[in-house]
């Protein structure tokens, strides 16, 4: 930290334009890299439903998949109500049948 930055911090002054620029830049780059095409999300949802259905009975209609962006990071959020759990045995049968 430079002397100026230290003084600034001690006086509790607002951020200078350099740190504002850096923050904006970091956000912009995160956003740029997360440009996900809609059909990719759809494909992902199909695949996820298939995998989850092996273990749980789910309500396919009310399943939602979303990308949420918050400070500095982003999250893939899947929300699905579970109707019932499948038994492991059934699960193996289901796989063999597939």
């Amino acid at each position: 930290m430079s002397f100026n930055a230290l003084i600034r911090k001690l006086l509790n002054k607002p951020d200078n334009s350099r740190s504002v620029a850096k923050k904006r830049l970091q956000f912009a780059l995160v956003y740029d890299k997360l440009e996900v095409k809609d059909d990719m999300l759809e494909d992902l949802q199909k695949d996820l439903v298939e995998v989850i259905s092996r273990y749980f009975e789910i309500d396919r209609e009310s399943l939602s998949l979303d990308i949420q962006r918050c400070e500095g990071s982003s999250a893939l959020i899947l929300n699905t109500p579970i109707v019932a759990a499948k038994h492991r045995k059934n699960n193996h049968e289901a796989r063999a049948g597939a």
Partner: protein, 268 residues
Amino acid sequence: MDGKVIVVTSGKGGVGKTTVTASIGAALAIQGKRVAVVDMDIGLRNLDVVMGLENRIVFNVVDVVQKKCKLKQAAIKDRKIDNLFLIPASQSDDKSIIKPENMVWLCNKLRREYDFALLDCPAGIEQGFKNAIEAADEALVVCTPEVSSVRDADRVIGLLYAHSITPKLIVNRIVPKLVEKGDMLSHVDVVDVLSIDLVGLVEMDDAVVVSSNTGNPIVQQKDSKAGKAFNRIAMRLDGHPDLPVEDPMAHDSFWKKIGKKLGRKKQE
């Protein structure tokens, strides 16, 4: 000869690609290497005027690719520096006239003829950019300490990685005073955001404007900070990769500045 083809690129226009290409080319030639600088900005040539060779153009890079002339015929010898050659762009064609496969052929020829070939890439990430990076061995990404420039640099770096080239970064036009005041991104900030190796740090320097006005190489002006920086970049590219990048901010410590200010007051 088994030379290296280095593409100089940036994504955003107006950050100093052409000056960087001309200056590093000149510095390498002064260090005794045989150097070609190639203007890949087909339709908008500029490298010739920056180098002061605009009156000597007969053939251009499109002629070479279309085999209307030999590489040697299109290469214009610099006025002052031995071993430095310019291969100009054509001014009348479109960027799509050169195909990626032409570039593979051209770069092989350049490697045979020169120690270093620097390709001045056009701004943008379209065909002209794709051509320029197609057969390059290395890449230099130029950016200025501005949000828009760094963002574009990041995009270009991603495209270069996808093309199996690991680029190195040149931060151009840094103003140490502004950085210290907290009003400009520092090279540390830029490297932190882009996370690639820094190969050069060039200060904002009025002498660059003068040298491009006159078409004289900045690296031959001994008192120019930018000229010195370009010379050091050339050394790093040519066998001295560990030469430290000088931090212009480091010269003026707090106490030194006080000393300077006191000194100035005394003079007044």
